[in-house]
């Protein structure tokens, strides 16, 4: 069990995370997926429809402090030594993440008339996993307490969350004025399964006497830990086909539901300089059915078993010391199983960016894009700075991106990015967008410098999609 636990945290996790940052797609106006990142983006098309299940796929795995290479490098060093070094180097603020999104349906259209607006909607499936490295618990499991007498192993280091859900969304985008375009998107979440354990408290410590009745005192102090699950109980004991059927039902609004919204805007200072910003997934899921929560709390000090050598009659049993000890532990640190509901906030994201357009006009048709009510016509080049942040269980995670976008007519557009965050200073990404007769295909990937050996990468992300856009 311990080995499995370590394996999950050290190896599967290692192969991943940074976040849900989609810096390559943000404000890349040519993709419909841009509207999912900023409902207030400037839309140049009249209609778009994604290929069902193929309009957008995003996958990101990463780790903030360790790469696959750190542990599995074929360097002659014993793997157990490398793991010991890795545990030593990582902190409880390092984390592993997996994020995957699949657009099931994606569509949008320009509503003409007196007050033109662009409506868009669809449905996507999302898997989002984040697990902070439980340093103290990993240390205890890997080495034991022998070399750590007096050290408090903090249960707060356990912080993880995993969600599998579908999101139904519908948004509206409107050019409010010549300078301002704004949009909002309403979301309905349907959770398929969810598990989380965050905000745990308490510590385990082994201390040497004096003052103790035995050699050590093993203490659990101020323990308050909880694991919340939703959607798992009813899957227990089912066949694989039944599980799939149940999950499909939940995907189709049969799960625990939640609501949220996105909002965004684009402000054009002049013909070349603009500002965009968005807030995404401001909402919550209300887990009201099929929930199970395991909660442990209390304090306990273990000194071993005290023998009192009672005077016993013939055949009289001695005191059940061990059973009494187990009863004491259960009484002092009860583990309650609850079926009450709970509310879980979605991981809200914030994007903001400053963009500068330059070069000749795309298509070189003049200065007005008359299809879009007089908005500034796009130039072939755009450069700028993007800010991204996401609210995670241990606070805000942030990233900054410098980018350059180049359009080659209306057929090809490329975007390159340099992203800097706390974990990587060499993340170069690139994306290509191909548009032939309205059918467009995009592909974007991160960490290109590590592409020759992904084992050394701290994170890898890939986005691909196929859409039809009518301009």
């Amino acid at each position: 069990m311990i080995k499995k636990f370590l394996f999950i945290y050290l190896f599967l996790g290692i192969s991943v995370v940074v976040c849900q940052n989609k810096q390559l797609l943000y404000n890349w106006e040519v993709t419909p997926q841009t509207l999912l990142l900023n409902p207030g983006s400037i839309v140049s098309g009249r209609f778009h429809a994604g290929v069902p299940l193929g309009s957008g796929f995003h996958f990101n795995v990463g780790s903030s402090g360790v790469s696959v290479f750190d542990v599995f490098a074929d360097d002659g060093v014993d793997i157990n030594t490398k793991i010991t070094n890795t545990i030593s180097r990582l902190s409880s603020r390092d984390f592993f993440t997996v994020n995957q999104q699949l657009d099931v349906i994606n569509f949008g259209w320009l509503s003409k008339g007196f007050d033109p607006m662009y409506f868009s909607g669809g449905m996507y499936q999302e898997l989002d996993v984040i697990a902070y490295f439980p340093k103290d618990i990993a240390l205890l499991a890997w080495e034991g307490n022998r070399n750590y007498i007096g050290k408090a192993f903090d249960f707060n280091h356990i912080s993880a969350r995993a969600d599998l859900l579908t999101v139904y969304h519908f948004g509206v985008n409107k050019q409010v004025s010549k300078k301002l375009t704004a949009g909002v998107r309403f979301k309905l979440y349907s959770s398929m399964v969810s598990v989380s354990s965050t905000r745990n408290k308490g510590a385990f410590k082994t201390t040497l006497r004096p003052g103790s009745v035995n050699i050590y005192e093993h203490t659990v102090t101020d323990l308050d830990a909880e694991v919340k699950t939703s959607g798992f109980i009813s899957l227990d004991g089912l066949e694989q086909s039944q599980v799939s059927k149940k999950l499909l039902g939940r995907a189709l609004l049969g799960g625990n539901l939640g609501i949220g919204f996105d909002a965004g805007m684009t402000y054009q200072f002049d013909k070349q300089l603009s500002l965009t910003a968005s807030v995404l997934d401001l909402g919550a899921i209300f887990h009201t059915k099929d929930t199970e929560r395991y909660k442990a709390s209390g304090d306990y000090t273990l000194d071993g078993i005290e023998l009192i050598f009672p005077e016993l009659e013939n055949d009289q049993s001695t005191i059940p010391y061990y059973d009494n000890l187990e009863d004491d532990i259960v009484r002092e640190i009860p583990v309650d199983t609850l079926n009450t509901g709970y509310t879980q906030l979605r991981p809200t994201k914030i994007n903001a960016a400053l963009h500068y357009n330059f070069g000749r006009f795309v298509g070189d048709k003049g200065g007005c894009n008359c299809k879009n009510n007089g908005t500034i016509q796009k130039r072939v080049s755009q450069a700028g700075f993007q800010y991204y942040s996401i609210f995670r269980p241990r606070g805000l995670q942030m990233a900054g991106t410098l980018y350059y976008t180049r359009s080659f007519g209306n057929t090809l557009s490329i975007k390159t990015t340099y992203t800097l965050d706390r974990y990587s200073a060499k993340n170069i990404g690139a994306g290509m967008f191909l548009n032939i007769a309205g059918v467009n295909l995009f592909l974007a990937a991160d960490n290109l410098l590590q592409m020759s050996n992904l084992a050394k990468a701290n994170s890898v992300s890939l986005q691909i999609g196929l859409n039809y856009i009518l301009n």
Partner: protein
Amino acid sequence: METNIFKLFFLLTYTLLCVSCFEDTDFNQANELVVRPEIELDLIYFNLEASKFYDYTNNTEILVIKDTTDLDFLGGNDITDILKGADFFFEFTNSIPRGFNVSFDFLNQADVSKYLMQTTVASGNQDAPVVSYFVQSLDEPQIKELTKAKKVLVTVTIPSSSQDLSGVLNLQSKTTYYLQIE
């Protein structure tokens, strides 16, 4: 023109996928993964008054006293597979002016001895209690026998006693468990 761009797009995509790989790694190393935690855990303790060794009702010596406790965790299948060694550490502090023989007999559910430890405790006095140590290290074959046990019988033997004998025999103990999970 569009055909060429289309070709370029897929050429770049193909190149990207071809160059991306895991190099200089050996995932078979996972088979060599061994978790070796070393756990320090209190075992048993007691404070035996000298009066325990005399029957004041019948005015007779009590030369042997015993007590037993289950140690269920020792006998589990899970622990048998992963426990590779153990160091038992016993510290006696004796202020009774008698020496003692103390035994720790690890018994299975049918009260059959699976492993026996024995030691002597030096005589002490109330003004200057005497400390005695006993350490027993068990290797893997020995620990295999120990883990067949479910309980420990502690026997304390005093050579002689009297009604005016005074003092306390104190025991504190711990075990270091060496686990190996592969």
